[in-house]
Symmetry: C2
Subunit: 213 residues, 2 copies
């Protein structure tokens, strides 16, 4: 039997027909734009059903921000996340608040610039904001770097569709900056995935496989 | 008995606790940004519960665009519109497609630059795009003009909150243009409301009232 791929191991043998994503952090981190770009990448360029939502309540003034993207093979009746398949937490508060909503096998990605207490050692910890500062001298591209990483870490969106959607949304004249930011996110995610693979203990490799190799 | 106000007549004596808005038109008319600004005006600046959603399906490549805003006094369990209280149609196709989703007493606002066949004579017909072209030489502000009109025509959002939300979202350096666009929308709506009042036949004014005046 072939070894399961990263995504098969990570997401179970096949992707369920509904996939729920929450992007969270503080206001000003560009999470709403990120949600829109991600939804357009999946819906317009990858051709699936997508609903993208942001909600505001009395806590909205507190400066927290979240954006949800629901993906399905069928029309979406209920566009709100129930149990998350993917949580991106760009600050500690949102990580603490939303981690309980993540499925046990769900994917947690944190901005390790701000999230220092990670509830699960298997989380992908990537310093999006630090990369944005150090590599681009522009903190505002942290969301686009995160988007690049996300397109590498989840099979729900392709990197190509992500790039098309980013370029269609960002202001004219910033295309190169944003394309480079996406690429930086992709590379950072590739490195994080390698580290993740080391953490992962091969679950129950049968003896003969070991001998075969 | 005092004469009912415009809003009481228009929306029933009191606003229901759930209010559903759909903004629709073609891609490129800025409806998603408009939905976000409207949701932020109501949720952050006016302090109600708001959920703002865009959905994409196989038709997304067709160039249609819609954005929904649900407002409630309570937390929103179901963030998708069921029966619309307000429909903004920025082109003919979206007007034809979504008018059946409007409640009988719902508010229809159309961009009369593009919507020439209006399904209900009581619709507010305002040439948002023509105003944007002629007054500002910038078609892209049609959505902000429409937002100004909307804040005048529905009690669900205040003009003050709308202005704060617009100024927080638009690119630096465009504040004056956008503030002027909002104002142009407000004035256009005031004129449209006057015309609307003329159309409105006083429903069942009792004889004595007529004699009193």
């Amino acid at each position: 039997m072939p070894k399961p791929t990263f995504h098969e191991r990570h997401l179970g043998v096949e992707m369920s027909s509904r996939y729920e994503i929450r992007l969270s952090g503080s206001g000003g981190q560009g999470l709403i734009l990120m949600g829109i770009i991600l939804a357009e990448a999946i819906g317009i360029y990858d051709g699936k059903f997508v609903a993208q939502t942001q909600s505001y309540g009395p806590e909205a003034r507190g400066g927290s921000s979240k954006s949800e993207v629901i993906v399905s093979d069928e029309e979406i009746d209920y566009p709100k996340a129930i149990k998350l398949d993917l949580l991106l937490a760009m600050n500690q508060k949102s990580c603490d608040e939303f981690y309980p909503d993540l499925k046990p096998e769900g994917l947690l990605i944190v901005d390790s610039t701000f999230v220092t207490q990670v509830p699960n050692p298997k989380a992908f910890q990537i310093p999006f904001t630090r990369i944005a500062r150090e590599k681009f001298n522009r903190e505002v591209v942290a969301n686009i770097i995160a988007l690049g990483a996300l397109s590498q870490l989840t099979p729900v969106v392709s990197s190509k569709a992500t790039e098309s959607a980013v370029l269609a949304r960002v202001p004219k004249g910033t295309e190169k900056l944003n394309r480079d930011a996406l690429k930086a996110g992709l590379s950072a995610a590739r490195r994080a995935k390698k580290d993740w693979m080391k953490l992962e203990v091969p679950p129950d490799t049968p003896k003969e496989d070991v001998l075969d190799s």
